[in-house]
Amino acid sequence: MKRNLHYRLIFIVLVFVVSVVLSYPPSEKINLGLDLKGGIHLVLQVKTDDALEVETSQRREMIEADLKAEQIVFTRTQVTEDFGIDIIGALRDQEDQLKVYLNQYAPAWTFRTRDREGEVDIAMTMSSAERKALAERTVRDAKETIQKRVDQYGVAEPTIQIYGSGNVQDQIIVELPGVEDFDRVLNLIKSTAMLELKLVHPTGGGPFATREVALQNFDNRLPPDYEIVPYPNSATGQTTYLVVRKAPSLTGQNLKTANRTQDDFSGRAEVVFYLDSEGVSIFTRTTEQNVGNRLAIVLDDQVYSAPRIDGRIASESARITGNFTPEEAEDLALVLRSGALPASIQILENRIIGPSLGLDSIRRGVFASVVGLMLVVLGMLVVYKLSGINAIVCLLLNLIILLAVLSGLHATLTLPGIAGVILTIGMAVDANILIFERIKEELRLGKTVRSAVDAGFDRVFTTIIDTNVTTLIGALVLYQIGTGPVRGFAVTLGVGLVANIFSAVFVSRTLFGLVLQRWQVEKLSI
């Protein structure tokens, strides 16, 4: 028993030392949550339908081109509202040929045929598995793009994770601790940054004062390949409209890099982007074939400039000019470098905590904890006298272990987490109280000090396990289902409970054992 006690003591000291090493200094080792440090917490939803729409319209164009090449006759094709493709008015004689083609080149699509007076209509829909895969890919790509942007902006320890409860996890949680320029960062994350170079209509390109005027120019029947896009004039602040080709000649996918520069004459900030080799050859070819036409630089469906092509341009760089501040130009270059988002995103939740509020919360939380701790310490000393010291040693060890585990797990301490610490203080003494009360009872029955202590610990052991396990169940559920601050609470509560079992059952008993061994205790101060 004597040897055993010493081993136990060595073990406890070891745990203590390791815990202190792990958690010292706490200000550096403990990871503070957003509510304590300040920063941004965002929940974004990726509009995966955007990507579905792009995929469907591209597929339609491809099918149309392929069918023409294979000399399969049809009247027209169209995209339906729920992302299907209709091939209308195919010849019945060619139905089999058409089916062979679809089976081979659009395997992820299912189709139904409908007879109509010698002709066949085919309704194609994307299989649900493919649809899901596409949506998931879109969310993943969006996450990567956001990650790149955040990394380039320079945020220490950002958290970016995919999240959601539906069929497809289409939400992204972004946590950026310590960020101050909220609006700037929000724009950085939100902007789609879809860069496209589109040819302006050679004869009726505009600019027009309104959409209506632009339409009237085409007798209210816009050619199907063309669309109207706004062209805000940065100098006058007025918006005009251009008629440009729907299909871009070049997109941001052929971008190599982008940088902020300054115009030599005006000193204005602008963005220069560089094309990769494929981009250069497309650009050269486009300019060669369209001399005299204008080429619009369209960013997120807005024209920034539309210079006339004076001749073949074999350049690898182009500029985006506008009324940018240096900061805006910097951010634009950044989002272009990181690539376009595959779909637009919507902000579902937006929590912005200033750093001073976090500091206040820490001060208050810590103060409340210290007061709570003092009250409990005082209460234990008053009621259990010298044995109360035993409980207090356990309590302090419990707190140090808690800090160490939080540091070790790189867990995040939140304001509710601090509340969890206070609660742990209250619950930690529960185990000691259970034991002490039991020892008192056993003493009342006339047992010797030593056997009363032993009986107290033995009898209460299962109760302590039972009570802690049930609370642990609550903490686990909270951890699984909660996010952010609530999760921080679950972590401190859960870790506190486990540390609790160790300190109350193991440490407290060892301390009693040591005292009883060292001194001949006739009457226990309890």
Binding site: V43, I347, L348, R351, P355, L375, V383
Partner: protein
């Protein structure tokens, strides 16, 4: 020291008394919930919670009116807490326009709305608001002004770092002061060059308020969070029921569950009566209370199980009474200690934790009571019912 020396109270004999108390509490809560409802926070309803700090104690009606003029519907403007009279919490309803476009409020909307009212003198001057400007913007302005004349023919990049450092100093000081700089003279202690102080005096002003936080929750997230909160409470209850049923007997699990429902219901009733806001953290507190309340019940049950072996001659009622009495000191002591800790939190933890600690404080009292007054009588009642059935057959 014993809190109660050798208690011999006939707890089960008081069961009708307890039934009346519990019924009164639950019915009061239910009526309040029916009439006044629960004050659900933006976490669940969607909307925006803004925390603004002023240099002086602000007039709440003035804030409400100002926001209204800017088209922001302030549902609630309250003082943050007694310790911080200058701080105000504003709750803004979800606008109908936001729903279609963007489901959350832009972070600077409240700032833009309040500025013309509170800092109108500076609106057109282009001066910087020292209490709302970010580190980057302050540094950018300083680089432009270059009050220490470091620029003389050198590119900006060479002295930008110097001004970054200065603005960091100023902003950190502001953070230390809980977000507000009252006078320029405060900056003297930072040891800034006289040129910088002069430039700030001319080009900046200490604004009369600062936005400390903006928490905007869209309707969709609100719905999701509500579902999650409900599921989490139910899952936790079921798991605990299962554990207790497994460790003891099924009826003990049912009795514990009944006590838990009783506790959660009464606590929610207290929230309805006081119209305190229920946020996500309050739900976390409710779950903790569930865990806490079951602790008390388990301690009693454990003792009952032990005593059933020791007191084979006695009937169940006596065993339960004895068990409750034997654990009474522990129950009072533990509840007392936890209550003290939670009470400290309630007093000093600030507004954010107030709802949380309120839930726990109520929960501790009700939870302690229910393990004696609800759980044990149910076990006895079930036992007697079974006995009667046996007698009949």
């Amino acid at each position: 020291m014993d809190i109660v020396r050798n208690p011999k109270i006939d707890w089960l004999g008081l069961k009708w008394f307890f039934v009346v108390i519990s019924l009164v509490l639950m019915v009061t809560g239910a009526i309040s919930m029916l009439i006044r409802g629960l004050n659900l926070g933006v976490d669940f309803t969607g909307g925006t919670l803004v925390h603004v700090k002023f240099t002086e104690q602000p007039d709440l009606d003035r804030i409400r009116l100002t926001l209204g003029d800017a088209g922001l519907k302030a549902e609630e403007v309250i003082r943050f807490d007694e310790l911080a009279q200058n701080e105000v919490q504003i709750r803004i309803a979800r606008g109908s326009a936001e729903e279609s476009l963007e489901s959350t409020l832009e972070s600077n909307q409240v700032f833009e709305a309040l500025r013309p009212e509170y800092d109108s003198d500076y609106m057109e001057t282009g001066k910087l608001d020292l209490n709302n400007i970010s580190k980057g913007d302050l540094s950018a302005r300083l680089q432009e002004l270059d009050p220490e004349a470091l620029g003389e023919g050198r590119p900006v990049a060479e002295f930008a770092a110097h001004y970054d450092e200065i603005s960091e100093k100023i902003i950190n000081y502001r953070t230390e002061q809980s977000g507000i700089i009252h006078r320029f003279s405060e900056l003297d202690q930072l040891g800034l060059a006289s040129g910088v102080v002069k430039a700030l005096n001319e080009e900046a002003y200490p604004g009369s308020f600062t936005v400390l936080s903006v928490e905007s929750v869209g309707p969709k997230v609100g719905e999701e969070l509500s579902t999650r909160a409900r599921t989490s409470v139910i899952i936790a209850l079921v798991l605990m029921l299962a554990y207790v049923a497994f460790r003891f007997w099924p009826i003990y699990g049912v009795a514990a569950l009944a006590a838990l429902f009783h506790d959660v219901f009464i606590t929610l009733g207290a929230f309805s009566l006081t119209q305190r806001e229920i946020s996500l953290t309050v739900v976390a507190a409710l779950l903790t209370l569930v865990g806490y309340s079951i602790n008390d019940t388990i301690v009693v049950f454990d003792r009952v199980r032990e005593n059933l072996r020791l007191m084979r001659r006695e009937d169940l009622a006596t065993v339960i009474n004895t068990s409750i009495n034997q654990t009474l000191n522990r129950t009072i002591m533990t509840s007392g200690m936890t209550f003290l800790a939670v009470f400290a939190l309630y007093l000093f933890g600030g507004q954010v934790l107030r709802g949380f600690s309120f839930a726990l404080a109520v929960g501790i009292i009700v939870g302690t009571y229910s393990s004696i007054a609800i759980a044990s009588p149910i076990v006895l009642w079930w036992h007697n019912l079974m006995e009667k059935r046996k007698m009949r057959s």
